[in-house]
C-alpha cells in the first residue's frame, strides 16, 4: 500500500509516458487534473492487488474521445459521473478503482474520482501499456464482461450500454455516443472481483510507472544516464540509438498513422531503424529486419533527458533511444495476440518476443 500524492504525481505521469509507447497523448492535462483533485481532496491510497479483500468491487474508469478535443474541452468530473451511473445501474458500490491503461492521461484518470470519493486505486491496469481501442484490455481477453458499462459527459448525460455481443461492439457503440457528447467523455465498467483483478489485470503497473519516473528524475538530478536508470528499473533493452532522420505522418480511419526513420549514432553508426505507429509504436525494423513488434513495448525516449517522446512530438533531429520492453505475459498468449498481436494491426508477421 502506498499513496499517490502531489509529490509523486510527476514521476507517475512520466513513467506512464514511457509505458505509453508513443501513444496515450500528451499527459500534461491529465496530470494537472489529477494534481488539482488531490490538492482539493487529498492523496489517494494505492492498494497492491494482494491487499484487495475477497469481496472487493473494483471498477475500471477511463477517458474516451479525441485527444485533440480534450485539449480544448478539458475533461472535468466525467469519470465520477460514470462511476456513479454504473453503481446505480448494477446496484453495487465500488470499493476500489482501477486504470484501464497505464499510458498517457488514462493512467491517472481513476485518481480523480478516487480523490473525490476517498476510494483506493488498485496498483494494476488493463493493458500494461497503451492501446488505441476500448476492447484491447486484458480484462476482456480473459473473460471479464465489458458490459454493463456507463458513459458520461460533463453536462449530466449518462448512457448505460447493458449488453453487447463482443467488446469490439462496446467500443463501436461507446465511440458513437462519445461523438454526440462532444468527443470527450469518460466510462466506467461494471465491478470486477478481487479474483478477476488478480487473474486478468497487468499487476503493479502504477508502481512501475512511479519507479520509472523516479529513476529518470533522480538520474537527471545526479547527472547520470537516464536510459540506464530506466533499464535498471524494469526488464528491457536498448533496441537502437540515433537521431530522427524522417517522420512521415498521415491520418487514416481516425488514427494518427505514420512511420519514423532513425539514423544510428555511436554503436549503431551506419545503421537505420524504422518504426511504424498507429497512435502507439507498433513495429520496429532494423535495416529491414523486424526487431520488435506489438504487444512488446517500443518506447522512444530523448537520449539525453529520458523524457518519453509521444508520436505527435516526433521530429527530425531529435536524439532518441529506442527501448524494447517485454510485453506483459497476459498479452503473449494466443488469446492475447488475437486481440493485440501484430496481425490485428495489419502486419503480416508473427509475434516473436524480444530476446533480452
Amino acid at each position: 500500500m502506498w499513496e499517490a500524492n502531489e509529490d509523486n504525481l510527476e514521476a507517475i505521469a512520466m513513467g506512464a509516458g514511457i509505458l505509453g509507447t508513443g501513444g496515450g497523448g500528451n499527459p500534461y492535462i491529465g496530470q494537472l487534473r489529477a494534481r488539482q483533485a488531490i490538492k482539493e481532496h487529498g492523496p489517494v491510497t494505492v492498494l497492491d492487488p494482494e491487499e484487495l479483500p475477497e469481496d472487493a468491487q473494483v471498477i475500471c474508469v477511463g477517458g474516451i474521445g479525441a485527444p485533440t478535443v480534450g485539449v480544448e474541452k478539458v475533461r472535468d468530473l466525467q469519470s465520477l459521473y460514470a462511476l456513479r451511473a454504473i453503481e446505480e445501474f448494477t446496484g453495487k458500490k465500488a470499493t476500489a478503482l482501477i486504470s484501464n491503461e497505464i499510458g498517457g492521461s488514462n493512467s491517472v484518470e481513476p485518481l480523480i474520482p478516487a480523490a473525490m470519493t476517498g476510494l483506493p486505486v488498485v496498483d494494476a491496469d488493463g493493458m500494461g501499456r497503451a492501446f488505441p481501442e476500448f476492447q484491447m484490455k486484458t480484462f476482456f481477453v480473459y473473460g471479464v464482461p465489458c458490459c454493463p458499462m456507463a458513459i458520461a459527459d460533463e453536462k449530466g448525460n449518462t448512457v448505460v450500454i447493458s449488453e453487447t455481443i463482443s467488446p469490439a461492439w462496446a467500443e463501436r457503440l461507446a465511440r458513437a455516443i462519445t461523438v454526440q457528447m462532444g468527443c470527450v467523455a469518460c466510462y466506467a465498467v461494471a465491478p470486477m472481483t478481487a479474483e478477476q483483478v488478480r487473474r486478468t489485470a497487468v499487476l503493479n503497473t502504477l508502481s512501475l510507472a512511479r519507479n520509472l519516473g523516479d529513476a529518470v528524475i533522480t538520474a537527471r538530478a545526479r547527472g547520470e544516464d537516464p536510459i540506464e536508470a530506466i533499464l535498471g528499473t524494469c526488464p528491457g533493452k536498448i533496441l537502437f540509438n540515433g537521431k530522427i532522420a524522417d517522420v512521415d505522418r498521415r491520418t487514416t480511419a481516425g488514427f494518427a498513422r505514420g512511420s519514423l526513420s532513425i539514423q544510428g549514432l555511436a554503436n549503431y553508426d551506419g545503421e537505420q531503424l524504422a518504426i511504424e505507429f498507429q497512435n502507439e509504436n507498433l513495429i520496429a525494423r532494423r535495416d529491414g529486419q523486424v526487431v520488435c513488434t506489438v504487444p512488446d513495448l517500443i518506447c522512444v525516449v530523448d537520449s539525453e533527458t529520458g523524457e518519453p517522446v509521444t508520436t505527435e512530438l516526433l521530429r527530425y533531429g531529435l536524439r532518441v533511444t529506442v527501448l524494447g520492453l517485454p510485453a506483459p505475459d497476459l498479452w503473449t498468449t494466443p488469446e492475447g495476440l488475437a486481440v493485440a498481436g501484430p496481425r490485428v494491426f495489419g502486419y503480416d508477421t508473427d509475434f516473436s518476443p524480444i530476446q533480452l
Partner: protein
Amino acid sequence: MFIGVDVGGTNTDAVLMDGVKLLAKAKLSTTPDVTEGIVAALTEVLAQRPSDGTVDGVMVGTTHFTNALLERRQLTPTAVVRLCLPATTLLPPLVDWPGPLRDAIGGFTYMVPGGHEFDGREISSFDASKVADAAKEMLRQGVRAVAISGVFSPVNPAHEIEAAAVISRVAPGLKITLSHENGRIGLLERENAAVLNACLGDVAARTIQGIQDAIRSLGLESPLYMSQNDGTLMDAGFAARFPVLTLSSGPTNSMRGAAFLSGVRDGIVVDVGGTSTDVGALVKGFPREAAVAVSIAGVRTNFRMPDVLSIPLGGGSVIQDNPLRIGPDSVGYRLTEEALVFGGGTLTGTDVAVAGGLAQVGDSALVQELAHSFVEQATLEIQHRIETAIDQVKVSATDVPVVLVGGGRILADNSLSGASHVLRPEHGDVANAIGAAIAQVGGQVERVYSLESTSRQEALAEARAEAINKAVAAGAKRDTVEVVEIDEVPLTYLPSNATLVRVKAVGDLAQSR
C-alpha cells in the same frame, strides 16, 4: 527610408535603411527607461540621414514586455472570464500559473455558462446576467483589464463577443482581450496568452506612447511599428491592443535580418550573443514556428513563437581548464572589462577565439600564454556545440546554408559540419535591428472546419480571405499580400472529416519603400 530598432536586455541597436541599403548603424547600452536608449540610438543614426531623406517608419523590436512579466512590474490587475459551464471546472483559469505572477495580477477568475463543442454546437446558452454579475464584481475588486475565453472559441467566437459587449456596457473602463483573436486550439494555453496580453495593457500603452513621443521629439512624423514574434510588424495601435504578440520578437528579428543580409531563404541562422547562442531554421525567409507549447515567464501558451534552440554559449562565456568547462555563466555586458584580451582576469569565449586566430579583438598579446593544445581543445568544443545545435534545428538531413550573426560570431569557424556553406554577412552584428526595419506585416487564421458541411475548397478560400484581411487590417498594402503558409491538420478520432486549417498571409507595409 526606414529605421529599425532592437531593444535587448544589454544593447539597444538602431539602423537606418534606404530600401535594401544600410545607411547608418548604432549600438548603445539599453537604459532602465527604454525610451532614453532609443532616443540616443535614433539620434546617432539620424545624424547620418541624407538631407533629402524622409523616414517612412520606425520599427521597434523589444524584450521589454517579456521583462515586465519576468520581473512582475507594472502589470495591470486582470480578471479572467471563461465561458464553459458546466465543462472544464476542474481546471479553473490561472490553474498552473506561478503563484507570484498570479498574485501580481490579482487572480480574479470567473467561470460562466457558454462555450461550444468541437462542431460548433453550444455547450450551454450564453447567460448575460452571469457575465454582468462578474463585471460588477470586477469593478468592486479594482480590476482594470479582463481576458475572456470560451471553449472552442476558435471554432465559434460568438459567446466571447457577446460577453465582451456585456462587460463593456456594465464596466466601460475595462480593457478586454478575447482569446479567439489570437492563439490556437488548446483552451488553457490560449486563455493564458489572453491573460498575459490583458495584464500587459498598461505597460504596453505607456511604453508605446513613450516611444512615439521620443520619435516626435526628434522631429520625425513617421509612424511607429512594433515587431511580432513571427517576424512581421504591427502598427502601434494594434501593438498596444496585442502586446503579447511582441514576446520573443528578438530572435525572430535577428533571423529575418540574417536572411536579408545573406540572401538565404531556407537555411539555419546562428546568432551568437554574449551569453547565449540562438539557433533557428529559416523557411522561405521566415523563422520556423514552434509546434509545441512555449512557456513565457513560467506560463504555458501556444503562441506563435519562433522555434529557436538557445544554448548557453557566447563571447562572454566563462571558460575553465582541466577539465574543460564552457559556460553556462557569462561575464555578459562586462566583457570589455573582464575578458583577458581587454586586460581583465576572466578567460572567456572571446579570448579563446582571439588566441586561436579566429578573431582580432582587444590585445592578442594578453592571451599568448594560453597553451596551444588547450586553445585547440576549447575551439573544437565550441565548434562541436554549435554543430550539434544546428543539427537539432535542421528540418532535413541534407546540408544547408548557415548564416552566422551576432556580436559573438567570431567564436565559430567557417567549416561547420552540416553546413553547405557558412555566411558571415556584413553588418551581422546589428542583424536584429535590420530584421525589424525590413519586416512585413501579416495575418494568420486558425480554425477547425467540418468538411461535411463545407467543401475543402470553400474552407480554404474562406481561411485565405480572412488571413489576407487580417494582414491588411495590420497595415499591409493589399496588392502585395500573399499567402505564405497553408497548413491542414486532419483531427484524429473526429468524425465529419474535421480539419484544422491554418493560413498565414504577409505583405509589404502600406508605405513607400
